[in-house]
């Protein structure tokens, strides 16, 4: 009886061990969200040479692991799938480190030049785990890693899908969520699934069709407003006062 129990125990341990060994290689291939990007940690890597920023990513099941590395101490951001001019409608993730603490948020580009975090818009922060680190000295560096679902279901997020997607990369030497990136920005056509990338330049697309007409109408509107303020003020002053 004693031998039987011992054999069963041994068999159970063996099974658990085998199961662990089988899943171990798969686990080893997944990036660890520890704020450090090791050589070959991610399945894919893209270097935006124009701005010196790196994007690393691995897709595993329904998740995407992303690593960002920029040559500055400040905010680092990645965004994808804008629906309008510049970054309008893009899903954006921005993070920076201050005092060793990571500040990291899920954002949505509510206009072509501004963004608000998803929570303030009524959405969710869908970043599942994140970590970051900074290197000081003559060659400063900010590294941020995170994981999220390919499709979060949040209306202020854009899904990561097979095929080329417009990806925005940017960084700034400032620790906040809003300072303008200046020239430290690039746009790339990237297929997250296939791993192919093609740099598209500074702007995702040219101005929306009909923008010039809109601008002209806007100018007329402003001019009308100015003429109304001046004209009505003058007419009011010129209007004769009734003599009592």
């Amino acid at each position: 009886m004693k031998h039987k129990v011992a054999r069963l125990l041994w068999l159970s341990l063996l099974l658990v061990g085998l199961r662990g060994a089988a899943s171990a290689p798969a686990q080893a291939q997944l990036p660890s969200i520890d704020g450090q990007i090791a050589e070959s940690e991610y399945a894919n890597r893209y270097l935006a040479e124009a701005i010196g920023m790196e994007l690393h990513w691995t897709i595993e099941g329904e998740y995407i692991y992303i690593g960002l590395r920029a040559p500055a101490q400040g905010w680092v951001a990645v965004g994808w799938s804008p629906t309008g001019a510049i970054k309008d409608g893009a899903d954006i993730v921005i993070g920076y480190l201050r005092g060793g603490e990571l500040f990291f948020q899920d954002y949505f580009a509510n206009t072509s030049v501004s963004h608000l975090n998803d929570v303030s818009l009524g959405g969710r922060d869908d970043l599942l785990e994140s970590s970051g680190s900074e290197a000081t000295g003559p060659q400063p560096q900010t590294t941020i890693e995170f994981r999220r679902r390919l499709d979060t279901g949040d209306k202020f997020d854009r899904p990561v899908v097979p095929g080329a997607q417009t990806v925005l990369l940017a960084y700034s030497p400032n620790d906040d969520f809003v300072t303008y990136h200046g020239e430290k920005r690039t746009v790339v056509k990237l297929d997250f699934f296939a791993g192919s990338a093609q740099e598209a330049g500074l702007f995702a697309r040219s101005r929306a069709l009909g923008f010039d007409q809109l601008l002209q109408a806007w100018l007329w509107t402003v001019l009308t407003g100015v003429v109304m303020i001046i004209g009505l003020s003058a007419a009011y002053l010129l209007w004769p006062v009734k003599k009592l």
Binding site: G74, T111, F211, I229, G231, S233, L238
Partner: protein
């Protein structure tokens, strides 16, 4: 020593000039309201009398300072924030520019009226009404500028709820239809023509 980033330095200039204009023009508006209350009020309290007495020149000087800093704010907005190509693709930025132009116009006429009529404008009900109306228009434009600026800075505005109820969307480009533009311009031309006509009928020498 860490050298400040050029982008941060630029944006700070716009912030400084914008804050200056908001502070000074709000002071001008508040002074106008105090002066107006002084005209209506029958109180002889020495503190109230000196307050209303000081409000008049304060409104004028603050408006002059505010007008200058608002002009500087428009300049720094174009040159020290985002590239013009970027600015002109954002409906929020364009709306902010439009509101700044309206505010500039209101406060410019405000200063011109005060310069022309002097402190005695308060004795003329008609000019006084225009003066107060201009300050209200200028202040409301200023509040809307601040609200759109808040959105551009990635924050929300305290005015959002009010604007929502008023049906004002600062994210949608302010555009009037061609018919509306011509109708409004016609209203201005007709008002001016009628005012001049009435004035001429009353006293032909005025023409």
């Amino acid at each position: 020593m860490q050298v400040p980033a050029p982008e941060a330095e630029r944006i700070a200039w716009h912030t400084i000039t914008a804050e200056l204009s908001v502070g000074m023009l709000t002071l001008a508006f508040v002074s106008v309201i105090i002066k107006l209350l002084g005209v209506w009020s029958k109180s002889d309290h020495p503190l109230w009398r000196s307050l209303t007495w000081m409000a008049e020149p304060t409104a004028y000087l603050a408006a002059v300072g505010g007008l200058l800093s608002l002009s500087a704010g428009v300049f720094t907005g174009f040159t020290y924030t985002w590239p013009v190509e970027v600015l002109l693709t954002s409906s929020v930025v364009l709306n902010k520019i439009a509101l700044s132009v309206f505010a500039l116009t209101f406060w410019l006429i405000f200063v011109l009226v005060r310069s022309f009529y002097g402190g005695r404008l308060w004795e003329q009900a008609k000019v006084r009404r225009l003066y107060v109306t201009l300050s209200v228009g200028g202040f409301l434009s200023l509040a809307l500028i601040g609200s759109t600026g808040g959105h551009l800075a990635g924050k929300r505005s305290a005015l959002d709820i009010v604007l929502h109820h008023l049906g004002i969307n600062t994210h949608a480009l302010f555009i009037l239809s061609e018919t509306a533009i011509w109708s409004l311009l016609a209203v201005v031309v007709i008002s001016l023509a009628v005012a001049l006509g009435l004035r001429w009928r009353r006293d032909p020498r005025c023409s």
